[in-house]
Amino acid sequence: MKQRHIALTLLATSLLVFAVGCKKKKPVDTPPPPTPTTSAPKAEKGPAAVINSFTAEPATILRGESATLKWSVANATEVTIDNGIGRVPATGSRQVSPTGNTTYRMMAKGDGGDAISAASVAVTTAPPPPPPPPAPKATISERMARDVQDVFFDYDKMEVREDARAMLQRNADGIKAILNDFPSAVISLEGHCDERGSAEYNLGLGDRRATSVREFLSQIGVPAERLKTISFGKEKPFCSEATEDCYGKNRRVHFVGVQ
C-alpha cells in the first residue's frame, strides 16, 4: 500500500516535471556554432567555393511558423548567411521564423573564388476568418422566459398592483422587442386565480386580470391587437398547496408567446 503510494507520488511528480518541462519548451534558436578557432591552412590559390545547394523548406510559411534553411557548400573557407545568422558550417540547416518575406543570402568564400546564393521564404498571413456566425436565435418561448415576468394580484382584485406596474414597464420593453423579432407572433395574457373563489367567478376574474394588464401595456405603447387574453380561472394552478404563499403565486397574469 505504502509502496504503491510512493510509486504514485513519484509518477505524479515526474508527470508534473514533464508537464512543466513541456510548457517551458519553446523553439529557441540554437546558439550559433562556435567559431572555428583554427582556420584551414591557406593554400596557394585553392579551389573556388561551390554552393551545392541552398534551399528554404517550405518556401512559404504562415507568419509565426518556421522554415528550414538547408545548405551544402564545398571548398569554402567561410560561409555566412545574412539576416543576422552569421557564420555557419559548410553543411547544415537552420530553422528561421521570419516575420516578413525574406531572402536569405549566402556568401561562401573560397581561396579560389567566392560563391553566392539565395533562398527566399515567403511569409503569408492567414486570411481573416469569416465573421462569427450569428448567435443562435432564441425561440420565442426562451425570449418570453428571459424578458417577460409574471405579474401578481391581491385576493379578489383585478387592478394592477403598484409593484406590478414597474414589472409591466419592463415587460413592455421585452414584449415590444419580441413582437418586433417575431412579426407574426401574438402574446397571450393568461389570467389565473387562487383556488378559494368559486370556479365560475374566477373565470370572470381571471379574464379581467388579463384585460387589465392588456390595457396597461397598450397605454405604454404595446400594440393591443397583438395582445390576446385568456382566463383559466382556477383551472390551471401553478401550485396546489392551501397556503398564502401558493395562493399568491396563483393570482397572476402569465405571458405566453404564440407564433
Binding site: 379578489d156 383585478m158 373563489g197 370556479a199 384585460t211 390576446k228 385568456i230
Partner: protein, 450 residues
C-alpha cells in the same frame, strides 16, 4: 344584578336560537314535507334464477324509499320473523301471528304505518316481482290494501334494480312524491386524465356513468334545458372559454353563435327553454347577456364594471334572475328583473356566495356560501328569497359547492371534497340522506335533469 343580567341574556339567546331554528325548520318543512310516515319493507324472497337477483331488488327498493326522505324506516331487527309474501298469507283477528297479521306491524316495536311486501320469481325468462303496499292502521284486510302490482324486467341485476325502482316509485306516488327514477345527473369529471375535464352523465342514483363530451380539453359548467333535451356548457376546446350546445336526444352538437369575446361562459336556460343566459366579456368585464337558443338576438342584461356570472331565471315567474356579482366587493348573490330594474343583494355581504340555483317553486334558492368559514370553505345553504332566511345544510365537511335541485324539489346534488377528491353527493333538502354518487377521479358541478 349581574346574575339577572346574565339570566336575561341567556333567556334572550335561547329565544333567538328557538326563533332561528324555527325559521330554519319552516324552510326545510316546506321543502321536504311534514311528518314522516313509518314504513316496514321486509325483504322479498325468490328462488331459482331470480334468487340471485332479488338482493339487488330489495336494496334498490329500500334505498329509494329511505332517500325519498318521506319515511322513517322501521328497524329491520324488530320485524316479525314470518312476513307475508302474498295476499293470501295475511290473517286478521288474531292477537299475534308472527308477522302474518297487519297488527304485528302496526304495534310495537315495529310501529309501522305502512307495510310493503311481496316476492320475486323467474317467469318466462324474465325477472318478475309481485309488490304490495298495505296501510296497517286499517283493520279490514281488503280495506288496508293500497295497491299490488306485478313488475316485469329482464332477468339480470340491472333488471332487478329497474323493477325495484318502479315498485319504490309506485309507493312514493301514493304519497304525492315524484320519483326520481329515470332522471339524469350531468356533471364534470377529470377521470379520463391528462388534466382534461369532460361532461359526464349518470342515473339519479349514481349508476350508468358515461361520458358525453370528448374534447380532450377543459369542458365544464354544464347546464340542462328544462325539458332535458339540450345541454350547454363552457369549453376550452377552441382556445378561449366558449359556450357549446349539445342535443341529448341526437347526441350531436347544436350551433350556438358565441359573441366576439375572450370569454363566454356559465350558460343557463330560461324556463321556456327558448333563451340562454350567459356571461360574456364583450365590454371588458364579465357581464350578463341573453340570446336565443342559437346565440342570435343578443341583449345585455347587467351593466356594471365588475364580474357577474351564473345568471339563472326564476322558473316560476320568468321575469327575474339571480346571479353572482362582485359589484359590492367580494362575490355575493343578487336578484334583478330581466329589464334591469330592482337590483337587490340577497346574501348579507358576509363571506363569499356563489352557485345560486332556483328551487322549482321559484321561492327558494340553494347556493354555496363561505359565511362563518374562512375563504374557500364553501357550504351548501338554502334561502327563502322573500324573507332572506337561510338554512345551512352542510357544516364544514370539506368544501361543498354547486348545489342544484332534483326535479322533485326535495333533493339536491352537490360536490364535496369531504372524502378526499371532489365527488358528487345527493341529499335531502334538510341535509340528511347524504349519498355519494361518484368515486372515479375528481367530479364537480352536478346538474339534475328530468
Amino acid at each position: 344584578m349581574k346574575n339577572r343580567y346574565l339570566v336575561g341574556l341567556i333567556a334572550f339567546g335561547a329565544l333567538a336560537v328557538a326563533a332561528y331554528s324555527q325559521s330554519q325548520d319552516a324552510i326545510v318543512l316546506k321543502l321536504t314535507g311534514g311528518e314522516k310516515k313509518k314504513i316496514a319493507l321486509p325483504d322479498f324472497r325468490a328462488t331459482g334464477a331470480a334468487g340471485a337477483l332479488v338482493e339487488a331488488f330489495n336494496k334498490t327498493v329500500f334505498e329509494d324509499i329511505q332517500q325519498s326522505g318521506l319515511f322513517d324506516m322501521a328497524a329491520k331487527s324488530f320485524y316479525p320473523l314470518n312476513p307475508p309474501q302474498q295476499e293470501a298469507d295475511l290473517r286478521a283477528g288474531q292477537a299475534t301471528c308472527a308477522g302474518r297479521c297487519l297488527s304485528d306491524w302496526a304495534g310495537t316495536p315495529v310501529s309501522a304505518g305502512y307495510l310493503g311486501f311481496g316476492y320475486a320469481a323467474e317467469q318466462g325468462g324474465q325477472f318478475v316481482a309481485f309488490g304490495h303496499l298495505y296501510n296497517t292502521a286499517v283493520a279490514d284486510i281488503a280495506g288496508a290494501k293500497v295497491f299490488r302490482k306485478l313488475y316485469n324486467a329482464p332477468l339480470s341485476e340491472e333488471g332487478a334494480r329497474k323493477a325495484g325502482h318502479e315498485y319504490a316509485a309506485d309507493i312514493l306516488a301514493q304519497f304525492g312524491a315524484a320519483s326520481l327514477v329515470g332522471s339524469k345527473i350531468y356533471f364534470v369529471s377529470d377521470r379520463t386524465g391528462r388534466g382534461n375535464k369532460e361532461i359526464w352523465v349518470m342515473d339519479f342514483d349514481g349508476s350508468n356513468q358515461s361520458r358525453v363530451t370528448s374534447f380532450n380539453s377543459i369542458t365544464t359548467m354544464p347546464a340542462i334545458s328544462p325539458d332535458g333535451r339540450r345541454l350547454a356548457f363552457t369549453t376550452y376546446a377552441k382556445g378561449q372559454p366558449q359556450i357549446m350546445m349539445y342535443s341529448t336526444e341526437t347526441s350531436r352538437f347544436i350551433n350556438f353563435l358565441n359573441p366576439q369575446a375572450s370569454m363566454n361562459a356559465t350558460p343557463s336556460f330560461t324556463p321556456d327553454g327558448q333563451s340562454v343566459l350567459f356571461s360574456s366579456t364583450i365590454s371588458g368585464f364579465s357581464q350578463i347577456y341573453v340570446a336565443n337558443q342559437s346565440g342570435g338576438g343578443m341583449k345585455r342584461l347587467s351593466n356594471s364594471r365588475s364580474i357577474e356570472m351564473e345568471a339563472k331565471v326564476n322558473p316560476k315567474t320568468g321575469t327575474e334572475m339571480i346571479f353572482v356579482s362582485g359589484r359590492g366587493g367580494l362575490q355575493q348573490i343578487y336578484r334583478m328583473s330581466l329589464d334591469g330594474a330592482d337590483v337587490v343583494r340577497l346574501t348579507n355581504g358576509e363571506g363569499e356566495a356563489s352557485n345560486p340555483a332556483w328551487h322549482p317553486d321559484g321561492q327558494h334558492i340553494a347556493f354555496a356560501w363561505t359565511r362563518g368559514y374562512s375563504p374557500g370553505n364553501w357550504n351548501v345553504f338554502l334561502m327563502d328569497v322573500a324573507s332572506r332566511e337561510t338554512v345551512q345544510l352542510t357544516h364544514g365537511e370539506g368544501k361543498n359547492e354547486n348545489p342544484t335541485w332534483a326535479p322533485d324539489g326535495r333533493h339536491l346534488v352537490f360536490s364535496s371534497n369531504r372524502s378526499g377528491r371532489s365527488q358528487i353527493y345527493s341529499m335531502l333538502a334538510n341535509g340528511t340522506e347524504v349519498k355519494q354518487l361518484t368515486t372515479q377521479g375528481g367530479n364537480w358541478m352536478p346538474v339534475w335533469s328530468k
